[in-house]
């Protein structure tokens, strides 16, 4: 078709200049990555791009002038490419979003969001609430900042008791509030039992869960903040045998059906008699909590008649239960908030 007249090198150069001018203008005028891409296809497209057509015309150049024309062609090609690259930089951000990245493959699987997980302590708490819920115990909560009445006095812990030593508790600085009674971070969740009994009449069947605070130095088994679960059951004719049954059911549910438990005498100010509960694990007895029959003095403090009602209370350390379940050997791991540790649960 275009074989009418042979081209001179100069004519070919003018042809290229025309194309180059058009391409530069089109690239500069592009207002989006899409428009730029359309311009690129128009001028540089591999099949029907205008540059391709001009390239084909090289064959029509007179033989003697072909080397010169070829040189013009290469110069023009470089210039157009350069112009395109320059124009492309204007839309780099847009391209990075992937919408126009020529290497973007929408059929590939996406990059998943990293999902968070419940903390192992939270998981343990949820399981404990579930187990105790099936035994009829309702969760109850109370404040973490307590007064001495709820943390000590009502629990039959007199002022002379070693547990009340200011050095063994986190008392709050209440400067400027001299008239107010001392406040402290609760050292046990038994405070919740007092609050519940003060407000409700028997029968009571609750568990209280939450953080407690004691100024212990952190080591593999101690931490100045930890979690407790406490159970309280008060009614007519509640006995130590009922306590043992509940502890047995609890251990069976949490640790497995073949775990033997035992109770042995101990001492706590707020229960009489008091016991320690052990379960048999890996060939030895492991302590899992303190318990006992609610001391009549505690009932008197909350206005229950100890002649009419009896009850039991037990307290278990949640960290200890969690650590046994997951074979964690250092309590501090639980609170370091290292995702590499936490994602394992």
């Amino acid at each position: 078709m275009n074989s009418v007249a042979p081209l001179t090198a100069e004519g070919y150069r003018q042809e290229l200049q025309q194309l180059l001018a058009g391409a530069l203008q089109a690239f500069a005028a592009a207002e989006s990555a899409d428009q730029l891409e359309a311009a690129r296809v128009h001028y540089l497209g591999a099949k029907n791009g205008l540059f391709k057509n001009v390239q084909k015309q090289l064959g029509q150049v007179v033989v003697a002038e072909k080397p010169l024309a070829g040189k013009h062609l290469n110069e023009a090609k470089d210039q157009i490419q350069e112009a395109f690259e320059q124009a492309r930089l204007r839309f780099t951000a847009e391209l990075r979003r992937g919408s126009l990245d020529p290497q973007f493959d929408p059929s590939l699987p996406g990059t998943g969001q990293r999902l968070g997980k419940l903390h192992p302590i939270t998981q343990t708490i949820e399981e404990l609430i579930d187990i105790m819920g099936r035994l009829g115990f309702t969760p109850a909560q109370g404040p973490e900042i307590e007064d001495e009445w709820h943390n000590f006095v009502a629990l039959n812990i007199p002022a002379s008791h070693p547990a009340r030593d200011p050095l063994d508790n986190f008392y709050l600085a209440v400067a400027g509030r001299q008239t107010a009674e001392p406040l402290l971070l609760r050292s046990q969740t038994s405070t919740v039992q007092i609050r519940v009994m003060e407000q409700t009449r028997p029968p009571v069947r609750i568990i209280s869960l939450g953080r407690v605070y004691r100024p212990d130095t952190a080591d593999p088994t101690h931490y100045p903040m930890f979690h407790q679960i406490e159970g309280l059951m008060v009614d007519r004719k509640v006995t130590l045998a009922d306590l043992k049954t509940v502890l047995k059911l609890f251990a069976t549910n949490y640790l497995g059906s073949k775990v033997p438990i035992r109770i042995r005498p101990s001492f706590f100010p707020f229960t009489e008699p008091s016991v320690e509960a052990d379960y048999f694990w890996n060939g030895r007895w492991v302590e899992f909590g303190g318990a006992g029959m609610v001391d009549p003095n505690v009932f008197a403090a909350v206005g229950y008649d100890p002649e009419e009602y009896s009850g039991f209370a037990f307290g278990l350390g949640i960290e200890r239960l969690c650590m046994i379940r997951h074979q964690i050997t250092d309590i501090r791991h639980l609170f370091t908030n290292d995702v590499r540790f936490l994602r394992q649960f």
């Binding site: 030593d165 006995t239 130590l240 045998a241 035992r262 042995r264 005498p265 001492f267």
Partner: protein, 331 residues
């Protein structure tokens, strides 16, 4: 509380192995932590809860064993001979801090020869982790570990004015204790003073100046009752805790003070010689009244959910050293 297996066997002969005894004690409230061999003896580590200061001596643990295995408990009956001038003619004791010290007993052993204790005494002390010092001090430690009553031996010649005054410290008073550190005392604490100044921090630690040394001839033996809260706050303030303060903090048997004193003097005569002055100085400011507890048998089943036969109840209470005043409806 670390107890010696050989020591316990002085008071009770149980038809059981050591392991069985440890197991029974655990299940009756004295949780067994571990046992460590000590030569031909065993050091048995038991947890004693704060409500059981009676178990802070070998006799207390032996009493539990005697009841658990239904065998008799052999309590030593000290009967040392006394000689010479009566104690009341050569020494005097007065209690000014009446609330902080409700009983103070003193006995005097003259002419002791201070030196190393016999092997049997050293072995028992070493078995429970106490380093032997000399025969007099070892006897006071032995009796404390036997019955739970802390005792202190003063070099009588160093007590100025030959007198003991139990009082609160005066402002600015200091004492160099037998650990050879100086402690600043303050009102609210309780000290043992002689005619001039403090010679011991009551229930916590004795003073260096009046401690028993190889040149000591006459020793005054203190066996007293000090207020638990005062001992605890004092030990805490001074950061000075001792086997003595540990026991006074938890409560010592007021009635047992004289037995412990007598027992200690007997052992001093045996191990260090000398003569026990006749008489005892026994000053009491408040005499505690016995507690009468109404024990309602029907509460056993109501609280524990199991029945315990009345003869088991009776035998257990009597075996633990309680006396039953009256019984009603237990036929």
């Amino acid at each position: 509380m670390i107890v010696s297996w050989n020591w316990l066997k002085k008071y009770v002969a149980v038809p059981a192995t050591r392991e069985e005894v440890e197991q029974r004690l655990t299940m009756s409230g004295l949780n067994h932590e571990k046992s460590v061999p000590q030569g031909s003896d065993w050091a048995i580590d038991l947890d004693v809860t704060s409500n059981r200061p009676d178990c802070l001596g070998h006799l207390g643990i032996a009493r539990e064993m005697a009841v658990l295995f239904d065998v008799p408990l052999q309590i030593p009956q000290p009967q040392p001979a006394t000689q010479g001038q009566a104690l009341s003619e050569v020494a005097a004791v007065s209690i000014e801090a009446e609330r902080l010290c409700t009983r103070y007993t003193a006995r005097l052993v003259r002419g002791v020869k201070v030196g190393p204790s016999p092997a049997w005494l050293q072995d028992l002390l070493l078995a429970v982790g106490i380093n032997p010092v000399n025969n007099v001090v070892d006897c006071t430690n032995f009796v404390m570990l036997e019955c739970g009553q802390p005792l202190h031996a003063f070099d009588f010649a160093k007590l100025r004015g030959s007198r003991i005054v139990v009082r609160e410290p005066r402002p600015g008073e200091k004492l160099q204790a037998i650990d050879h550190r100086e402690y600043e005392l303050e009102p609210g604490m309780c000290v043992i003073a002689d005619g001039e100044g403090p010679v011991a921090i009551a229930g916590v630690m004795g003073g260096a100046d009046s401690e028993v040394t190889t040149s000591t001839r006459d020793v005054l033996i203190e066996s007293a009752w000090f207020d638990p809260l005062t001992v605890r706050t004092t030990a805490r303030k001074l950061a000075l805790h001792s086997p003595s303060s540990y026991r006074f903090e938890r409560g010592v048997d007021w009635q047992g003070a004289d037995w412990a004193s007598f027992r200690c003097c007997e052992l001093i005569l045996q191990t260090a010689g000398g003569q026990l002055a006749s008489g005892v100085i026994d000053v009491k400011t408040v005499v505690p009244q016995p507690h009468f507890i109404q024990f309602r048998l029907e509460r056993i089943a109501r609280v524990l959910g199991i029945d315990i036969p009345v003869d088991v109840v009776r035998k257990t209470l009597l075996g633990l050293g309680l006396s039953i005043e009256t019984e009603q409806g237990t036929t």
